[in-house]
Amino acid sequence: MHEIGLSAKNLYVSYNDKPAVKNVSLDFASKQVTALIGPSGCGKSTFLRSLNRMNDTIPGAKVTGEIWIGDENINSPKTDVVSLRQKIGMVWQRPNPFHKSIYENIAFGPRYHGIKNKKKLDEIVEESLKKAALWNETKDRLHTSALALSGGQQQRLCIARSIAVKPSIILMDEPASALDPVSTAKIEELITELKQEYCIIIVTHNMQQAARISEKTAFFLMGDLVEYDSTDKMFTDPQKKQTSDYISGRFG
């Protein structure tokens, strides 16, 4: 059994008193990929955003319940959100590189966590880009604009950027849904590579993708966690009728 990377207990999220996630408890193993699936509006993205307290930035959002990393409940008002987000990286559906050079995009995070040494920053940039499988394509143009990269490269840059602050958990919100099949394949390959080190939680609309890259899958519907099991089991022998209906494409 894998070590638990992150664990949510009785998590309840509402926007302006309208419930979006109802009483969800989930354990995420480190060094594994967990996929969150479900139809649009089922609360899976909301749930994901709660895990690194991104819902704090949305007016009207309320998150109750506990989120444990090790022996720390990070959903407490006492938590230092800034250092928390250093432990949890996040990647979005649309690549959102900063309007800066490739180098500056990666160095942005580490610099704010106190690394000023130029040599150290160079190392982090190289290491992060290598891990994100982007080093060979960008090593000769580190100081050119990140916006000149292709969509797939931008997304890998965003992954490299989140790795640069040395998180233990990476949240991904449909990281490949805005990309072409070739770039998607590269991102999936990268995720498989990264799971050797990180606890990866990925929201996806693509059932094949969930089946390809994840060890465990959680199915959400209308804010409820319907079923959570190993991906193999979920896709071959789901226990609940709603799950099998969704997976076989009968709705959603």
């Binding site: 991104m54 928390l84 309007h99 602050v165």
Partner: protein
């Protein structure tokens, strides 16, 4: 069926034609107006050089202005200097205030800012310039007179009045710029552990810098062209001042003060047209800078 279609298509064609001709006439009218104005100002302004044989370099660099005197002197540098120094200083005062106001309205208190602050700031744009000048003359000038050596009139008073006048221009453009920040950038920064201030300072402002600069240049352009309010507080002495609190003049105030007292076609009158030509050319330069900045901000 085919018959009725043919029947219907005719009024459509007429409508199409009328619309095309009407819109074309409107744009023609605009273009003709602009070109005739440029032509008029240019032909009048250039008379100084061709008919009155004044050297362009002398006009642009000379520091003595007395076109009606004997011998007539055509040094417009004091006006050019006055116009540039007041409008740039005004932008230097107004831009940081406007940026901070925009940050507050968009990032810190979006609800309150959009609902109450923005209308108030836009209200500033509607106040007639004579009111600004009047307030400047009765509040700022006496205040400067008490605090600093001199009479209180001059570049400092002019720039301060202008800065309040261009504040709404820069703030409005800066607010729109910040609001149009590509989505996801702020979240991306927060997710890396940045604080709100770091995000504003390192991501929001640098990303929108070209758009913010557009606002500043438009503000300078507006200050450059403003005549009345400046004229009331600047003193209107045609020489380059030794301090910020010494009487000087601008291109606009020189024109408005003397235009009524000169005879059309006289050397003095032509010289004023030359000042107008400089003013107009500078406005074009500002417009081109804005266009260039806008192109740059579209990445």
């Amino acid at each position: 069926m085919a018959q009725s279609k043919q029947h219907e298509s005719k009024p459509h064609l007429v409508e199409e034609w009328v619309g095309k001709v009407y819109t074309a006439l409107c744009i023609l009218f605009l273009v003709v107006t602009i070109f005739s104005m440029v032509y008029f100002v240019a032909s009048k302004g250039l008379t100084t050089f061709f008919k009155d044989k004044v050297n362009v370099i002398d006009l642009l660099t000379g520091i003595k202005w007395n076109p009606g005197g004997d011998p007539p002197l055509f040094g417009a540098l004091p006006f050019i200097f006055g116009s540039f120094s007041t409008s740039i200083l005004a932008a230097v005062i107004a831009a940081p205030l406007a940026f901070c106001a925009a940050v507050f309205m968009i990032e810190i208190a979006p609800k309150f800012g959009r609902k109450y602050l923005q209308p108030v700031i836009e209200l500033l744009a509607g106040i007639p310039s004579v009111v600004y000048g009047f307030v400047g003359l009765s509040v700022i000038v006496p205040l400067f007179r008490d605090i600093f050596p001199g009479q209180g009139i001059g570049i400092a008073a002019g720039a301060l009045v202008l800065s309040v006048m261009i504040l709404p221009t820069i703030t409005t453009i800066a607010t729109d710029a910040l609001a149009s920040l590509p989505s996801g950038l702020k979240e991306g920064s927060y997710a890396l552990g940045s604080t709100r201030w770091q995000t504003i300072y390192r991501i929001v402002l640098p990303t929108m810098l070209p758009a913010l600069m557009t606002g500043v240049v438009l503000g300078i352009a507006r200050a450059f062209g403003e005549a009345l309010a400046v004229q009331m507080v600047i003193g209107n002495a045609p020489h380059i001042p030794g301090s910020l609190f010494e009487s000087t003049s601008t291109l606009t105030s020189a024109i408005t003060l003397s235009m009524g007292n000169t005879v059309m076609g006289s050397t003095h009158n032509n010289a004023l047209w030359s000042l107008a030509l400089i003013l107009m050319t500078m406005t074009f330069v500002f417009v081109f800078i804005v266009r260039w900045l806008e192109r740059r901000s579209k990445i």
